[in-house]
């Protein structure tokens, strides 16, 4: 009965369908460079650099836990069609991208190929571990990958994207460089504004759920006094929470920032210490206020300043 599948007629139908489908996708996307970006913020920067030359597809939506993006098979056909893949690097996507690439049948975007654009190249990295041992939790041996929260480092990201796109499509190099220049100027303009806006953040002590905020804190002069997680990626033990609440009281920390994590523990700590709890996503694109990179950082800085003014 199953053998019918292999009869001549079915094969013809299948083949025809395939040819039709491949023609169709070819026609739609023939004009533009097909970019797949892992996170919305990267997608936006790519759009700024590529403008009308690129069509950008984003895998994660921005509300996911940065280390808990579900590995959906629906990502596979999208990766399969991509001309370039743009990712954060520093092992940020190590839990899902390498396995997806194994089945995506797209040699262009494999690690080490020109289409694999790692935005962390040349980024001054923070939190690089001095001891690489899993007793320290879920480590990022190459350093903290949440560098997109620093707008100054985002200029390097834009540069990396422009370089990566030019490497694959040298015929458009001039256009990419022109767009890059305009975007970096825009960013610079915004950075000036944000630095003024963020003046009240200077010296503010905060607690984070997971080490995601160090780059932003470093840029605007906030200081981190601890994290809710016992070790990166390891949920807190009751003892750790007791110690943390004591530390919050002692150091007079003013903010507790969490994102995709469970709100229960931050709320519990807040009840005990009165610390202000703030939910902010460490990835852009989670809502209409954060759907471009600049809007996302602007929203983040504004929300932080507002929260600090309330404490």
């Amino acid at each position: 009965m199953k053998m019918k599948l292999f009869s001549c007629r079915s094969w013809k139908t299948i083949l025809l369908t395939l040819v039709f489908l491949s023609l169709q996708t070819g026609v739609i996307f023939a004009q533009q460079i097909r970019v797949v970006a892992t996170w919305p913020a990267l997608a936006d920067i790519t759009k700024q650099v590529g403008k009308e030359l690129v069509s950008v597809d984003t895998l994660a939506t921005g509300v996911e836990d940065p280390h808990g993006v579900p590995m959906k098979p629906s990502f596979v056909p999208r990766l399969n069609r991509a001309d370039v893949l743009i990712l954060i690097g520093l092992d940020d996507e190590h839990a899902w991208i390498p396995a997806l690439l194994e089945v995506a049948s797209n040699p262009k975007i494999l690690l080490g190929r020109p289409g694999y654009i790692d935005c962390s190249v040349g980024i001054p990295v923070l939190d690089a571990p001095t001891r690489v041992d899993r007793a320290e939790g879920d480590l990022h041996p190459k350093g903290n990958p949440h560098y997109l929260l620093d707008p100054v480092r985002a200029k390097i990201v834009a540069q990396n994207i422009a370089t990566g796109l030019s490497r694959n499509f040298p015929q458009h190099q001039q256009a990419f460089e022109k767009n890059l220049k305009a975007y970096v100027a825009e960013l610079d303009n915004w950075i000036g504004r944000w630095e003024k806006m963020a003046a009240p953040l200077r010296g503010v002590k905060f607690v984070e759920y997971h080490p995601e905020w160090i780059y932003l804190a470093d840029r605007f002069g906030m200081s981190r006094i601890g994290s809710v997680e016992l070790k990166p990626g390891i949920e807190p033990t009751p003892n750790h929470i007791v110690e943390l609440t004591q530390q919050i009281k002692q150091d007079k920390a003013r903010l507790l920032i969490y994102g995709s994590q469970n709100p229960r523990i931050p709320q519990q700590i807040s009840n005990e210490t009165g610390i202000k709890v703030l939910r902010l996503y460490s990835g852009g694109g989670s809502g209409p206020e954060t759907d471009s990179y600049i809007k996302w950082i602007d929203y983040t800085v504004r929300t932080l300043v507002q929260a600090v003014s309330q404490t």
Binding site: S22, D65, P73, V76, P77, S286
Partner: protein, 504 residues
């Protein structure tokens, strides 16, 4: 290097001086003053030998401008007036260092000074206007120094990176490795208990060259060591094709091709063990094709000696006619119903044209079919904390088995269904129901019902407690496959560990 860092430090101080007290120095006059002092500090920073010169300039500034200073300051009352007088007295007494420090501390201590009246500001503005440009230059110089500093630290970063790359080069050429320990303590009802050292699985993987990668799982159990899998996979074939060859778990169904310690249960479902012969271990070759459809659709064609680690119908070492090999076709697809809900559907057929069992020399074909359906609820924003998986597989086996003096075709059906509920980041629980026939006597079957509780201490450390109730509809089942069973499993991982996409 040391000298450089000291300069940078002083320049930072000078910059910080103006930056840290924005309110204090909002006043026009004191901002100029601050710029002047800052410039002196920068000069000292650039050329420590010029310290004496700078000090002279400060001294001169105070003696030149003390009248202006005093006239600006005498407008104030009380402490401020006292402070102003002190500066005047000290500077006229030709003790400019004390005068300067008094000025600085005065400025720092009395921020109200910033509220100078506008008329006084006008006169001050006139006095210092000429100086402003020079001071602006000083500020630019500070900025430049700052930039040089950051660019040099970026250079240092690059150097560090390349050093890292060099250091990690030898390890990068080594394959990534990991070891999984899977042990449990069990109580098999009337059969008694056992500490079951089930496996220590060594995984090794790396790229072979630009055209292929390779991986292997070497499994040590209480019965010995064997190569569970060792396969090469192409990585650069065109037309969405992938070829895999060697010994590997054939692409049959969902759980049959998953290593036992990766399952959501302690044990592989009994239906898989009986109908397929455990994990779908196979020596052979597989071709995968990813359809260029907008949704995920993937086909596998394979040819193997046999499928099933414990399948003893065929020997791996005896050459035979090509009709006695097993051929497989599989289609698997996946659909996102919404962002949070998804369905995965697969169908497999393994066809062996001729199986020659002892006692049935003429043989006959064997058809083993499978359908697998998985529903997942993974809320994007909290997939780490919540989720539901409902998975079911159904198998159908059709082949001839020898009976007393002839051989008869027998058909058997079996399968399992389970639901797994994620309680929070570390805990999950579920329930499994399994229906396992005995393939050569399909009227005999075992039903099993099994609740379980999983505690993930971390991604690499897992404890699982599972209870099985096994019910047989025939007599003579072994004690170990009957009644109540309890398992406590401990699984730990060191090093790199991934079974990749297929065993998600």
């Amino acid at each position: 290097m040391h000298l450089h860092s000291r300069h940078a430090h002083t320049a930072r101080l000078a910059r910080g001086f103006a930056d840290s007290y924005p309110d204090l120095f909002s006043d026009y006059f004191r901002r100029c003053l601050c710029l002047f002092l800052g410039r002196q500090l920068v000069q000292v920073a650039e050329r420590p030998s010029s310290a004496r010169h700078s000090l002279r300039l400060v001294r001169k500034f105070i003696s030149d401008h003390h009248l202006v200073l005093v006239s600006a300051l005498t407008g104030y009352e009380g402490d401020q007036f006292f402070g102003g007088s002190m500066i005047m007295v000290l500077s006229t007494l030709r003790m400019p260092i004390l005068g300067a420090s008094a000025l600085v501390s005065f400025l720092l201590l009395f921020p109200v000074l910033g509220l100078a009246q506008s008329s006084e500001l006008e006169s001050l503005r006139a006095t210092v206007k000429g100086m402003e440009q020079q001071m602006q230059k000083a500020l630019e110089r500070i900025d430049q120094l700052e930039k040089e500093k950051s660019s040099s630290s970026a250079r240092i970063g690059e150097v560090e990176k390349s050093v890292q790359a060099v250091q990690s080069a030898p390890t990068a050429l080594n394959p990534s490795m990991g070891l999984v320990l899977d042990a449990n303590v069990q109580n098999l009802g009337k059969a008694g208990g056992n500490f079951d050292f089930r496996s220590a699985e060594l995984g090794i993987a790396a790229s072979v060259d630009p055209f292929a990668r390779m991986y292997s799982f070497i499994n040590g159990t209480k019965d010995g060591v064997e190569i569970d899998e060792a396969a090469a996979i192409t990585s650069s074939l065109p037309y969405n094709l992938t070829v895999k060859g060697g010994r590997f778990l054939a692409d049959f169904g969902r759980f049959p091709k998953v290593h036992e310690h990766e399952l959501p249960f302690v044990n592989e479902p009994l239906s898989v063990q009986r109908m397929i012969g455990g994990e779908t271990q196979a020596d052979g070759v597989e071709v995968n094709y990813l359809f260029p459809t907008p949704f995920f659709l993937r086909a596998t064609l394979g040819g193997y000696n046999k499928i099933g680690e414990d399948n003893d119908q065929v020997s791996n070492s005896k050459p035979r006619s090509w009709s006695q090999f097993t051929y497989l076709g599989r289609l698997s697809s996946y659909f996102d119903l919404t962002d949070n809900h998804s369905v995965e559907l697969g169908t497999t057929m393994a066809y062996t044209p001729s199986v020659r069992l002892a006692g049935d020399p003429s043989g006959g074909n064997r058809i083993l079919n499978g359908i697998d359906l998985t529903y997942r609820y993974q809320p994007l924003s909290s997939a780490v904390y919540q989720g539901v998986t409902w998975g079911s597989e159904f198998y159908f086996n059709n082949q001839r088995f020898p009976t007393d003096d002839t051989a008869n075709r027998s058909k058997s059906y079996g399968g399992y269904t389970y639901a797994d509920l994620k309680l929070n980041k570390n805990w999950s629980t579920g329930f499994q129901v399994d229906y396992a026939p005995i393939v050569d006597a399909p009227a005999q079957r075992t039903m099993s019902y099994s609740p379980y509780l999983t505690w993930n201490l971390s991604e690499f450390n897992r404890l699982r407690l599972e209870y099985y109730y096994l019910n047989n509809n025939f007599r003579g089942a072994s004690k170990a496959e009957n009644g109540n069973q309890i398992f406590l499993q401990w699984t730990t991982v060191i090093g790199a560990h991934t079974h990749g996409f297929l065993s998600r």
